[in-house]
């Protein structure tokens, strides 16, 4: 454990290396990256021991009221820390190529400092077992995240995104203050956390609501996701990967951890999460389809995936409420595994998106095209990530979604009538999956397929090796979980047991809820082998075929790259289908008359909640407050004296009875 702590400290201070190393040769950056790698390595031994029967704990005194420096590594924490370490390490390597010090002298050091800081803060957060320690780490993470997002703070849109993020995260933190203060009532001493399934409070509902707001804000559950698209789009890609792949999961971690304390879980908790999960999932992906900025699109997919994770957690909570142990195990395992999976494939996608941005110089999907020829490896990695995020076999996304499906099917066996409502999870998940597929077909096909739409895309170049290797490793990790999921089963099983406060997990072998993972693995291998064989055979057949012809234009002889489908046109039919909830703005597009003049079409989908609800509401409130201000603080001293007199009178009337 002490090594773990050393690793955390090394990561935390790694960025300071940027201050000393030589700028021209990126020396500081390399040193910082090395420090992070060493830090990650130091963390690993403790993680390997997580399945050992004795827990690893650090318990030190801490001289603040209610404070106690209590860290503990259990299976739940480990499930979050494992992907975190991978993302942090690979992101740091990627940064060497993507955000070189000498190319970004103004902000590379800042980025490096906060990159290390946020990594360390997140690990501490995931290990903390004391409210104060947790909140400290939480806010350090949130603030470091803010500085990552505003790396390029000379751009106004980046500042705006950062501001929205900061507001959102701080409001969430305040709610957490409330939740943890309530959690600590009745505890005179340190605010250390109760053991799993041992806590009960008359204000449990309020705690849950506050925590749902605070953690949901961070995780990006649907009405609270407002900060997410802008922030992920604004940050440098490897920072986005860290934010989207790992940071937002701390919200999920918070919910998982907090709900584990309670001995009794009211059914409405699970239902609320289920509902939020469905809304986030469906609308997240629908909004993603409507985007044409690749990083915004990926950010909305984070909302979608958080929705899926919330579905898993919701089912697990329902399992607790209705006493369905298999439901708990499957739901929580799905939730935790999807957390890890999303961390992997979303990071992969953000990194490869970064490589595309690096190569082409824009985030607009509509300006890409034909990139697979110019960036073959990036394309391959992106394709892998896309298949994984759509939840398709043989990659890891399928495994976790499968667990959640299975959980929702398990409900069929339950005697409770109300519970069967949660069956709707399965079709909702199917719809989400279908839409995600549409979306990623769009992104992959439009960006990598076809002909380049712009000169910039035509002259795109492949990323350097420091960027390609991390992506490759992510893809391997995705495939690993997809093909050998049973390797993770013990960890998940134990996490589920710890979550319920049980000492002994359900059996893993035959009959246990996680047993079929081995069979899936078999199917996955068959699929991979068959695909490889047939592809190899076809490839051999097709050698020597003519490759110098144009695409068949259905009789039209002069096709141009501009005639290809674009991201907007691809998304249009689906966006129209969801227009009841998206309210896209559409301009032009209909040719008029017999000889139509040049016309253009563009569609733009503002965020449902940020641009349509929160922004106007805040504007209105600000206007109202402005009015109140003019009225109260009007500059006339006589009126101010009147306030004094009135205060005096009111207080006298109230107090001297």
């Amino acid at each position: 454990m002490i090594w773990l702590l050393c690793g955390i400290v090394l990561m935390g201070v790694s960025g300071l290396a940027g201050l000393i190393g030589s700028r021209a040769r990126d020396g500081g950056q390399k040193l910082a990256c090395a420090l992070i790698l060493v830090g990650v390595t130091l963390c690993l031994p403790a993680l390997l021991k997580v399945l050992a029967p004795t827990a690893t704990v650090i318990n030190w005194r801490w001289a603040v009221p209610g404070g106690q420096f209590l860290l503990e590594l259990d299976a739940i924490s480990a499930a979050f820390i494992l992907p975190l370490l991978l993302v942090v390490a690979l992101g740091a390597i990627y940064g060497l190529g993507y955000w070189r010090h000498r190319e970004h002298p103004a902000n590379a050091t800042k980025l490096q400092i906060f990159y290390g800081l946020i990594s360390a803060a997140m690990i501490v957060l995931l290990l903390a077992r004391n409210s104060l320690l947790f909140l400290m780490a939480w806010e350090v993470m949130a603030l470091a995240g803010y500085f990552l997002i505003t790396t390029e703070d000379h751009k106004p849109e980046v500042c705006r995104a950062g501001f929205i993020y900061l507001i959102a995260t701080h409001s969430g933190t305040l709610a957490l203050f409330g939740a943890f203060a309530l959690l600590g009532t009745g505890q005179p001493g340190a605010l250390s956390w109760p053991a799993a399934a041992s806590f009960s409070s008359p204000q449990a509902g309020l705690i849950f609501i506050l925590a749902l707001f605070g953690f949901g804000m961070k995780a990006g559950l649907m009405p609270l996701h407002i900060w997410l698209p802008g922030a992920h789009a604004a940050a440098p890609s490897h920072a986005s990967a860290l934010l989207s792949g790992v940071m937002i999961k701390t919200g999920i971690y918070g919910l998982v951890r907090l709900t584990s304390f309670f001995a009794e879980i009211p059914a409405w908790w699970g239902w609320t999460l289920l509902l939020l999960g469905v809304v986030s999932g469906i609308f997240g992906v629908a909004l993603a389809i409507a985007q044409h900025d690749i990083k915004r699109l990926l950010a909305y997919h984070s909302v979608e995936n958080i929705g899926i994770i919330a579905l898993g957690l919701g089912l697990a909570l329902l399992g607790r409420s209705y006493n369905q142990p298999t439901l708990v195990v499957l739901g929580l395992a799905g939730c935790l595994l999807h957390v890890a999976n999303h961390g992997l494939f979303k990071s992969l996608l953000f990194l490869s998106a970064g490589s595309m941005i690096h190569g082409v110089g824009t985030r607009e999907i509509d300006q890409y095209g034909g990139l697979l020829k110019r960036q073959p490896l990036t394309g391959l990695f992106f394709l892998g990530g896309a298949v994984a995020i759509c939840g398709l076999p043989p990659f890891n996304g399928f495994i976790s979604e499968w667990l959640i499906y299975l959980a929702s099917f398990k409900v069929l066996n339950s005697p409770s009538g109300v519970l069967s409502l949660s069956l709707l999870t399965a079709p909702a998940l199917a719809l989400i999956g279908g839409l995600a597929l549409a979306c990623f077909v769009k992104v992959f096909g439009i960006s990598f397929g076809g002909e380049p739409r712009t000169a910039a895309a035509a002259s795109a170049h492949e990323a350097p090796a420091t960027m390609l290797w991390p992506m490759g490793i992510f893809l391997l990790a995705c495939a690993f979980i997809g093909l050998l999921p049973s390797q993770l089963a013990p960890l998940l099983n134990r996490a589920a047991a710890q979550w319920q406060g049980q000492d002994h997990p359900l059996p893993l072998s035959l009959g246990g809820p996680l047993a079929p993972l081995a069979a899936i693995s078999l199917a996955g291998w068959i699929l991979v082998v068959l695909l490889a064989l047939v592809f190899w055979r076809l490839r051999r057949c097709s050698q020597g075929a003519r490759r110098d012809l144009g695409t068949w234009g259905c009789g039209y002889p002069f096709p141009s790259p501009k005639m290809q489908y674009t991201a907007s046109s691809f998304g249009d039919s689906l966006v129209r289908l969801f227009n009841f909830g998206l309210w896209s703005k559409r301009h032009g597009g209909r040719p008029d008359g017999l000889f139509p003049a040049t016309s253009s079409f563009e569609s733009h989908t503002p965020d449902l909640f940020l641009d349509r609800l929160f922004s106007p509401a805040f504007q209105g409130a600000a206007w109202l407050m402005h009015g109140v201000r003019r009225l109260i603080q009007n500059g006339v001293a006589a009126i101010y004296l009147l306030y004094s007199a009135l205060t005096l009178l009111v207080l006298l009337a109230l107090l001297t009875r």
């Binding site: 394709l383 069929l412 110098d548």
Partner: protein
């Protein structure tokens, strides 16, 4: 065990193109023509396999991956299904989800291959394909939920097991009937049949699936056709098993029932194709949403 698996695969591989021939024959008969011979799909495939490739200079390896996945997926999916008296070779808790998602994989690659050509027509086809299947997937899930409820099992083998007979006789038979209808609709959508898509139309603008594979040639096109045929059989197997849950207890008998069922299904499809007009494209989502509602209704009936 191995023998049964090989037998099942052989049935799939050998038998797959036949239903297409039956459909075409049926349609021809309805139209008062003699029509192509029943084995015409086999001839087509054989001829395509002998031909050479032509590639657009725009395409990449993804273009080839489409047909590959389209071929492999039905084969693997077939391994998850019981065929007649043959039990499913791979069976585990929750294999039904793998079944559904495998077809998602094939759709992903087919559409990606279509976009790889850079043709606006193929892009159009890809959009339609992914849009409609989005709506079809929840239907399948609802149907599977109904079946799983009836079977008290989460494997495809269990779902389609002997209890189906009693299910038909139980008060929940109505829901099973609705499920059958819904799955049939999904079958038509997934296999691009009228009234959702017309595989034989000549106007690219109205196509869905066919327009996606315009640029394929030679063996690759053959693989696509073959894969589509197998997909029809695999999905058809599901419908047939539901409609004809006869259990003779004798392997050959069960297999015969199964094969006859598939051919009957082909005839029914042929009849539907002959008697119905193709839907206007904007109508398709409406029909699919309607079908989803129907499947929800089935679930409600089943849980009642």
């Amino acid at each position: 065990m191995i023998g049964r698996i090989v037998l099942q695969l052989l049935i799939l591989l050998m038998f797959a193109p036949l239903p297409l021939g039956v459909i075409n024959k049926t349609k021809a008969l309805f139209a008062g023509r003699i029509g192509p011979p029943l084995l015409q799909p086999y001839y087509d495939l054989a001829r395509l396999w002998r031909k050479g490739f032509v590639f657009s200079r725009t395409t990449t390896w993804v273009f080839l991956a489409g047909p590959v996945v389209g071929l492999v997926v039905p084969v693997l999916a077939c391994l998850l299904l019981p065929f007649g008296g043959l039990p499913a070779p791979i069976s585990f808790h929750g294999d039904l989800i793998l079944f559904v998602y495998l077809f998602g994989l094939s759709r992903f690659f087919t559409a990606a291959a279509a976009l790889d050509t850079g043709s606006s027509f193929e892009g159009m086809g890809a959009v339609r394909e992914v849009t409609f299947s989005c709506l079809a997937e929840p239907i399948v899930l609802f149907c599977l939920l109904v079946l799983a409820h009836g079977a008290d099992s989460l494997t495809l083998g269990g779902l389609l097991g002997p209890q189906l007979t009693s299910f038909w006789h139980s008060p929940h038979a109505a829901s099973l009937g609705i499920v059958l209808v819904c799955l049939f609709v999904v079958l038509l959508v997934e296999n691009s049949r009228i009234p959702f898509d017309d595989p034989n139309t000549h106007l690219e603008l109205t196509m869905i699936h066919e327009v996606m594979v315009l640029d394929h040639s030679g063996p690759a096109l053959g693989m696509i056709l073959y894969g589509a045929a197998m997909k029809l059989v695999v999905l058809g197997a599901l419908v047939v098993r539901l409609a004809l849950p006869l259990q003779t207890g004798w392997l050959i008998g069960d297999l015969l029932v199964f094969l006859v069922g598939i051919l009957l299904l082909a005839v029914v499809i042929g009849v539907v194709e002959s008697t119905m007009a193709r839907l206007r494209l904007p109508r398709v989502p409406q029909v699919l949403v309607g079908t989803s509602l129907l499947s929800v209704f089935a679930l409600v009936l089943a849980l009642r």
